[in-house]
Every structure is written in C-alpha cells, then in structure tokens.
Symmetry: C2
Subunit: 274 residues, 2 copies
C-alpha cells in the first residue's frame, strides 16, 4: 500500500515490530505516533522542515565537552523538569533539573571546606541534614554540590578565570547526617544564550535567566537519588525561571549575618521500593 | 504555581506568548503539547532521558558537509515522507523524499550528456517530458538529477573514487518539454548505517536498504517545484524501503535493450495557485 497521510503512522510503527527490547519498542511506537500527530497538525512546508533540520543540526554542533545544548533545549521546553517531576519520589525533598553544568566530577572535600577557590563574592555558610522520609538521619550520605560564582558563571564556562572545581564539592554527611561547607552566594544568571537555544528564546521574547541557586545531588545507600536545587529566596526570576525549575518548597532563606550569609537546607530521601 | 505534571504543558505554551511571528508561535505551541504528551505517556526514567539526549547529540555530531544524520533520522521515522506527502500538489507527479545526498549543486549539462563519469555499470538512457497537469509541454523546465553508482554510492560518499558531480546533472527541457541523458543503472543501497541512525535500525531489526532510484527535482516557472524519484521496477526492497519513499506511480520500467537499458519518466507539474 502507498504511504499516505493516514497510513504513514501505522506503517512506521509496524516497521519497528521486530524490536526485541520491549521498552525500546514501546518508546519508538510512542515517539512515532506523537511525531506524526505533530506533523499532521502543523503541516510544515518543506522550507519549515528544512529549518527544523538545520536548527537541530545546529543544536548538535553546539554541543561539546563543556556545553550541552540539547539539555538546554530540553530545559527551555520544560521537558527536563517534566521528566524530573515524573520521577520524583513521594515524600522526599522535591526534585528539580540537573541542568547542563554537571559535566565534571566534583572534587571530594571535607565538611567545613570552602568550595570557593576565588575569594570574591559574599561569603556564605551552608548547613543541612540528610534524613530518610521517616526522619532518621543518614550518616555517610553523599552530597554533591555545584554552583556559579557571584558573576553567574560555572568553572567550565570560564576555564581562563576559574580553577577547575571552583564552586564544586562532594561531601559526606557526618554521624548525625549533617553536612556543612563554605561558599559564596551564587548569582542569578542567563543560560548560555549565544547558540541556537538562545536564538529561540530571543525570537520568542523569552529572557534566558535563572534565579540564583545551588545544585545538589544527594545519595544514600538504600534510598532514591535526589537531584535538586536550593534557590536563593531574594533572587530575581524566581517566578519566571527560563527552565521552569522552581518549586516553592526549595526556596531557601540566605540570612544576612553581617560578615556573611547563612543558609540551611534539609534533605529527605525516599527509601528504595517506595 | 508550581510546575506539575498537569500544569507543565500550559506553562511552557504560555512562555511563548510574546512570540511576534504567529506561525512560529503556533508551531512552538504544537511542539510543546505533543512533546509533553509523549513524555507523560512514556514516563521516561532519568537514564532514558539521558540516553535520548546522548542519541540526539550523537546525531548532531555525525552531521557534516557531506552527511546529514538528522535528515536520515527524519527519513527512517517516515517524517520526511509525511512532510512531502502533505505538501504534494494535487494532480501532478507524486512527490517523494529529498534524501540526504542533495548536498552539492548538480552541474549544468546539455541534453544527451552522460552523468556517468566513471564508465562502469550498465549503460542506460533516460528520457522524459515535463508537462503541466493539463498536458501542455513545458519548455525550458529545469530537471535536476542525482543518483548513486552501480555499487550504491553517491559521489559525496566516495571523494577518493568518484569525481565531484558524478551521477549528477541539471538539464533544461527542449522546445517540446523533453529531456534525455545517459547514465548507468543505479543500485539499491543501504542508507549510511555506521552512525546513530544505523544503530537504531540495527537495534530494531530493520534493514537499511533503499530500492534503486534516480532522484529528480523538476521546476518550471509558474508551477510548483516537484521533488521525486523514478524507482527501478526490478529492484529489491521496493516493498520495504528504509525511508518509506516508494509510491507505486513512481515505479519505472528500465527496459533491457541488450547493450543498454532504457527508461522513460514523464513528469506533470501543478500550476501555482492550485
């Protein structure tokens, strides 16, 4: 039978019939159905289809060892946040996006160490406890932290100005599940806007800014891994994050103590199997 | 309001509200709705989302001046063919996919010239007439031809073995709308299968072959441009083209004349405004 507007979707789904991995087969059938439904609805011209191909190619060519433009694209369409939300474990601290800057291993540091290797910016002490959802403290949990400088850049974005590992640290909670470290208050910042995703935001009147935040991945044996942020409570853009990642429960007071600021962020991890 | 599974789609559509180009706004809203519906249906794990990001990045990195992996990806999901079908003009010769090998300008040639610069393969004469849908011949129409060799490779795939322009030629129809040129019979061939799209086909038990064909873009003033193929009638894979591009009306007899083969392909172009 000829390939027509109406027969096309099923013909392509059928072409994947011999896929041995059942999950892959299910995903490819769903991708085919939604992609064809999109195309039938939008009815792109050939020129529009070519623009789409060029855009995706440009996104791919913008990706390198320190830049992940497809993650950015997923972010600005709210897809990263949607996937995080769908995978969020009940009862624990809410999850949010990984973002495109978790590109290097954070250096292992001791509790109390500073992750600020530059000495510029507003000093800050961050403390917290990792607990299970029933309140039990989790000693020896891993808390992986990464953040930008007061100027809004991650180390990987400024290899000439920042030593590798600036703003990054992996800590182990103590016997009471506690962690603490020194840093500077991060700034709000624009996602990288000099590539195709930036051009998309520009063409659609969207700003590229994210509210100030500190990234966290918390992991403990026997519990779901958690990827989240602590958001700085007085930051601009909390209500219009370019990547839709703000949850009210994650907004954290960075209290002014004169010489420095202090924030406290408690983390609850969901036990495996829940 | 927090970003949730149910509020996410509308939040992202709303973020594009300030888009000044109404068509771009419409497309982005549709992309957002279908993409979120897909993600809500499939409920990817974080690892699956990361695999998708890596796959798309790999597709992007595989694209270069002579390789268009995103076109291949669009092809194997039947999207290229669907877009062609949606844009097909009523009454004219049926359209089919552009494919990823129209990467260089075809050299202008004289009627009767050979596009085969190698001298290997089964010689072939191709003749045809370009007409309007009412049967009026169209003198001075452009007929852009490209095809692979008898071994199944395009010039751009074998820069060391084929001179640039081998298998390619742009012709002008004569005063009666006729065109004719010499070539060799093209072979069926696999789409490039050494990249991420090839791995996808492999994982899904799909073969990468396309039936033998000669590509055509026909253009005449006052008429819709036509992108199509003539398919070689005795080729394998006519019923399982990896890119879903076969239309029965495009299957063309390549008649055996002993010393050579002969094919005749008439083209009907739809007048503008129809």
């Amino acid at each position: 039978m000829d390939f027509t507007e109406t027969s096309a979707e099923q013909a392509v789904v059928d072409s994947f019939a011999a896929t041995t991995d059942p999950r892959l087969k299910e995903i490819l059938a769903a991708v085919t159905r939604h992609l064809h439904a999109l195309v039938r609805e939008v009815r792109p011209t050939m020129a529009e289809w070519e623009q789409a191909i060029e855009f995706l190619t440009d996104v791919g060519h913008t990706c390198d060892a320190t830049r992940q433009e497809f993650v950015l694209l997923s972010d600005v369409f709210g897809v990263s946040m949607l996937v995080e939300t769908l995978n969020d474990s009940d009862g624990g601290t809410e999850a949010t996006v990984l973002g495109p800057f978790h590109l290097t291993e954070s250096p292992q540091r001791e509790l109390g160490d500073s992750i600020d290797l530059l000495g510029t910016g507003t000093p800050c002490v961050i403390t917290g406890i990792v607990r299970a959802t029933d309140g039990t403290p989790l000693p020896g949990a891993s808390v992986d932290i990464w953040q930008c400088t007061e100027d809004g850049f991650y180390d990987v974005q400024q290899p000439d100005r920042q030593p590798p590992g600036n703003g990054r640290g992996r800590f182990r909670t103590d016997g009471d599940g506690k962690f603490w470290f020194r840093t500077v208050v991060p700034s709000h910042y624009p996602i990288p806007a000099d590539g195709p995703v930036g051009r998309l935001l520009n063409a659609t009147g969207r700003h590229p800014y994210r509210p100030a935040h500190v990234h966290v991945i918390a992991e403990a044996a026997g519990h779901h891994s958690l990827t989240t942020h602590m958001f700085v409570a007085d930051s601009p853009y909390l209500d219009s994050d370019a990547v839709f990642a703000v949850k009210r429960s994650l907004i954290t007071e960075f209290a002014d103590r004169g010489s420095h600021r202090e924030a406290h962020f408690d983390i609850r991890l969901t036990p495996d199997g829940k």
